[in-house]
């Protein structure tokens, strides 16, 4: 193709995108001469160039549009109709440009329709101004208008002074070359690493630094403001408004936030789709909005900012929020979940159904959205580039999509590890630390049944062997390195056989034939020229979840993702003590699992003691049938609280399972909360609270229990007997009086009685009246309105917390966060002390 023509095409396309955006602005601010001047100038340039290149069709179109715009400049009133025609003209010009690009010549055809229309509007100048057509719900009150970061002065100046136009291919080529240079540098570093005192060391260091600078520089040239991906959106929203009869304001914040061109290209379409969705489904019609007490005009807000190595983009609307009931109904209809499964899910989980392929709740299929394609594509597009998309919806308030994407796809720092005889790269971003584990060292890999764990700073870290995830065969199961990895809120250890070094790797996309393997995110070429796979920590985390549920292998694995995040399951430690019947205790209550050499167990005053961490730790038997072993190692569960520890003697630790805990038969037997069916076997659920005083009689009475605190009474509301029994001793141990009730109704009755409560701790998920409703009821009664309420929930989601704040929860604690609960109670009662 002719160079001149090529340049014309790329330049004109760019100008047209600008005209698009400017026109929409102009329609809203018809008196802004700057904008009009801009548009006029752009169209004029296009017209001039077309004439020069002999593109007569384009010239005629541009001329007609220019004439009309000239009239605007001379003061003709701007109508929506006129803007629509100019926009269609621009669309036509774009179509013609596309054809020129394909065929290298101007296609034949007539544009008489548009030119006539434009001419007709131009001639109307002196006629009486037309009343605005009904499809134009534009209003002129600009008082509530907040248009972010629009510096008109900046725009009126041509920007091109300090920049040159570079072909994108040239930049991409430069990037590839630099990538190769980085690889060669790595290769040289590798060689020098093997020769300690080499003369190359110093110059190579210099080369290395220069390479790094060059790499950074080239990366910068590839950076583009995210606003480039947003350019089309004002037009999209405008057209949608006209089509749907809605009134929507599009705000953009942080449009100058930069990210890699390649990433930008990949997120353009998802953005457009999300914005369309917000406009179509999210924002209500003006009538509905007014009826709901909102402003007539809806807002869609785009914001972008940097956070660590990522860019965060938020697309928020202030519309009606997602239709939870609709999604539930649709999920059932599509067979994605049963009603019972849905009931157990949080709102956030239900919202996530919209990302399922073929899922659309729009009752009627419009031309805009609701075609059942889209949200799944949005998610897969974003995940493909290592990003995540989250959504938060509050009914009647709006929906927010949060997209998190890496700044660049090209080069990342990675840890090179070995597992099962092969090397792999793990991106540094998700690696927290490295721990060497071995039989002789400080850290030992231990096993609870088959699940490997590591004690790391008083916590049990779940481990997963990388060679097992990758099915690379059996290796050394005791020694290795633990790569402590964080994915979202989940922290786990990936066990590898060896760790080499970190290396800046150039990520090459995965072959389409391998993309279905979730544990890999890409491939890369190492310094020595070999190809290795890049591990995707998300995929490994999923495999970890599967390993935990592998015991229930008869269940189809399709739902494993949902199961993993199922808020109602509890990690339970299963063990045997005294009888063959399995016993269980929530893992969160257990501080450590220990095996103690029997010879170290001492007997004093009829009690068993062991020296543990420079302290004497009393050992308590679960029941009289449990006998201490005479020789070998005695397994114990250690429970610790404020520096004191107690060891619960057991016969054998069986397993750790993730299960829903339903105590089906309560027990009157001390030390036993009741029975539950776990993994098909009837299991005794142990009441830890019962054993604590056996170790230290004063466990619940010691220390700083001031009279003030003892006089405080906590009302504990939880429908589960298990939690009531579990939490009551805990709160008592912290020095409060506790009244525990089983339902919101009982709690309200208790509040109306004579007892004075200083603090309420309530579960959220309860039958009949839930925690939110209960809190509202408490707030509604004048006597109780001031009592602080701490919510207790297995589902701690952002949206639940927000809702909690709205109904008046003072604090929000995860159900198994004992320390958190006590801290929250103390904090709230400290507030009471101050108030008193």
């Amino acid at each position: 193709m002719d160079d001149l023509l090529r340049e014309f095409l790329s330049e004109t396309n760019e100008s047209l995108n600008l005209v698009d955006a400017e026109l929409v602005r102009f329609e809203q601010e018809p008196n802004n001469g700057n904008i009009l001047g801009n548009i006029f100038r752009l169209v004029h340039t296009i017209k001039g160039t077309c004439g020069f290149l002999g593109l007569s069709r384009l010239e005629a179109l541009a001329h007609a549009a220019e004439t009309l715009m000239g009239k605007f400049r001379d003061g003709m009133p701007v109508t929506t109709e006129a803007v629509t025609v100019v926009l269609s003209t621009i669309d036509r010009i774009k179509t013609i440009l596309d054809e020129i690009e394909a065929q290298q010549q101007e296609p034949t055809g007539s544009d008489g329709d548009l030119i006539d229309h434009l001419g007709c509007l131009t001639r109307q100048e002196n006629a009486t101004p037309q009343p605005a057509p009904p499809a134009a719900p534009k209003k002129l009150d600009k008082s509530d208008k907040v248009v972010a970061e629009r510096a008109d002065e900046e725009r009126s100046e041509p920007l091109a002074n300090h920049s040159i136009r570079v072909n994108v291919d040239t930049l991409d080529y430069l990037m590839t070359t630099v990538s190769e240079l980085v690889l060669t540098r790595n290769q040289l570093l590798e060689i020098v690493r093997q020769h300690e005192d080499s003369d190359f060391k110093v110059p190579l260091q210099r080369l290395s630094n220069v390479t790094a600078e060059l790499q950074e520089g080239v990366m910068k040239t590839r950076m583009q403001p995210i606003g480039n991906a947003w350019q089309k959106l004002p037009r999209v929203v405008r057209d949608l408004c006209a089509e749907l009869g809605k009134d929507i304001e599009l705000e953009m914040h942080g449009a100058d936030t930069e990210l890699d061109r390649q990433v930008l290209d990949l997120v353009k379409d998802p953005f457009t789709h999300l914005v369309r969705n917000c406009a179509d489904h999210g924002i209500e019609s003006p009538a509905q909005r007014l009826a709901a007490g909102k402003t007539r005009k809806g807002t869609i807000r785009l914001s972008a900012w940097h956070q660590g190595g990522h860019i965060i983009i938020e697309i928020a609307d202030n519309g009606r929020g997602l239709d939870i009931a609709g999604i539930q109904a649709k999920a059932v209809e599509k067979g994605l979940a049963s009603e019972a499964e849905l009931a157990a899910k949080s709102e956030a989980e239900i919202c996530n159904f919209i990302f399922t392929p073929g899922f659309s709740t729009a009752a009627k299929v419009t031309s805009i959205s609701g075609r059942g394609v889209g949200m799944d594509v949005v998610r897969s597009n974003i995940e493909q580039i290592g990003g995540t998309v989250d959504l938060k919806s509050v009914s009647g308030v709006g929906t927010t999509f949060t997209i998190k994407i890496p700044l660049t796809l090209a080069i990342v720092s990675a840890l090179i590890v070995e597992a099962g005889g092969e090397r792999f790269a793990i991106p540094q971003l998700s690696v927290l630390e490295l721990v060497r584990a071995g039989n002789n060292g400080e850290h030992r890999i231990e096993r609870i049944k088959d699940a490997p764990v590591l004690r790391l700073r008083n916590k049990l870290l779940p481990l997963i062997r990388l060679d097992e995830v990758l099915r690379l065969g059996e290796c050394d199961r005791e020694n290795g390195f633990v790569v402590v990895t964080q994915v979202g809120n989940q922290v786990f250890g990936a066990v590898v056989d060896g760790v080499f070094h970190t290396e800046e790797i150039v990520i090459k996309p995965m072959s389409s034939k391998l993309r279905h393997i979730p544990v890999f995110s890409g491939t890369t070429i190492l310094g020595d020229g070999s190809v290795i796979m890049i591990i995707d920590p998300n995929g490994v985390a999923q495999a970890l979840g599967r390993a935990a549920t592998a015991a229930q292998a008869d269940k189809p694995d399709l739902t494993s993702r949902e199961e993993d995040s199922d808020a109602d399951t509890v990690s339970l430690l299963l063990f045997r003590a005294g009888s063959q019947q399995p016993k269980a205790v929530p893992l969160a209550l257990v501080t450590r699992l220990e095996e103690i050499d029997c010879r170290k167990i001492e007997i004093s005053d009829g009690r068993h003691l062991v020296q543990y961490r420079d302290q004497l730790m009393p050992l308590v038997r679960v029941n009289t049938e449990t006998n201490l072993k005479k020789e070998g190692a005695q397994p114990i569960l250690v429970f610790s609280d404020r520096g004191r520890s107690m060891g619960l003697v057991v016969d054998e630790i069986i397993d750790i399972v993730e299960e829903r805990l339903d105590i089906e038969v309560a027990s009157e037997h001390p030390g036993l909360l009741g029975y539950a069916v776990i993994k098909g076997a009837t299991t005794e659920i142990i009441d830890v609270g019962h054993f604590l005083p056996q170790a230290f009689e004063d466990w619940f009475r010691r220390r700083d229990l001031s009279m003030a605190r003892l006089s405080r009474t906590v009302l504990l509301v939880d429908d589960s007997a298990f939690f009531r029994d579990l939490l009551t001793p805990l709160i008592k141990a912290a020095g409060y009086r506790v009244v525990a009730v089983a339902s919101a109704a009982d709690a309200l009755a208790a509040l109306k009685s004579d007892t004075r409560f200083d603090l309420i701790v309530t579960d959220i998920e309860m039958p009949e009246m839930d925690g939110f409703g209960f809190a509202e009821a408490v707030r509604a009664m004048s006597d109780t309105a001031a009592i602080p309420i701490i919510a207790l929930s297995a589902m701690v989601s952002a949206e639940a917390i927000e809702r909690g704040r709205a109904v008046g929860f003072h604090d929000y604690v995860a159900k198994f966060d004992r320390t958190g609960l006590i801290a929250a109670i103390k904090e709230q009662s400290a507030g009471l002390d101050r108030a008193a």
Binding site: E422, L470, S511, K513, L514, I517, G529, S530, V531, M533
Partner: protein, 151 residues
Amino acid sequence: MNDTTKLADYVTFTTADQMFGLPIERVQDVFKPTRITRVPLAGAEIAGVLNLRGRIVTAIELRCRLGLGARDDGRAAMAIGIESRGESFGLLVDAIGEVLKLPDSEREANPINLDRNLGRVAAGVYRLDGHLLVVLDIDRVLDLSAAAAAA
């Protein structure tokens, strides 16, 4: 020029004692694969990935793809480099033969009793002196999802 004289160039190769041909315009290059990194969890027909002059090539073992069993003679394979939808693939075969010019008109349809695995990827057969040459449809060879679905 009429159809009877229209000739096509085929790169020929053998694998598991069967001769195959690929239209030359689909063949990028022919190389000896070295240092193939195997990919855990990938299908059996994926021999691994390798670095060919800075490009990452996915190596596909034709024997496995055709259900002819794994390579057992320990002999190093040869690879035929293929570009498909912007990606590079290497088809691992036993040996590369010569380039043959064959008239389109002599290509015969797949015999009805052709092995099903082979039939799915074959685009016809030539009767040559002493042996048969199976023309491969490379797009169908690379469509591994179809293979998985059929398995």
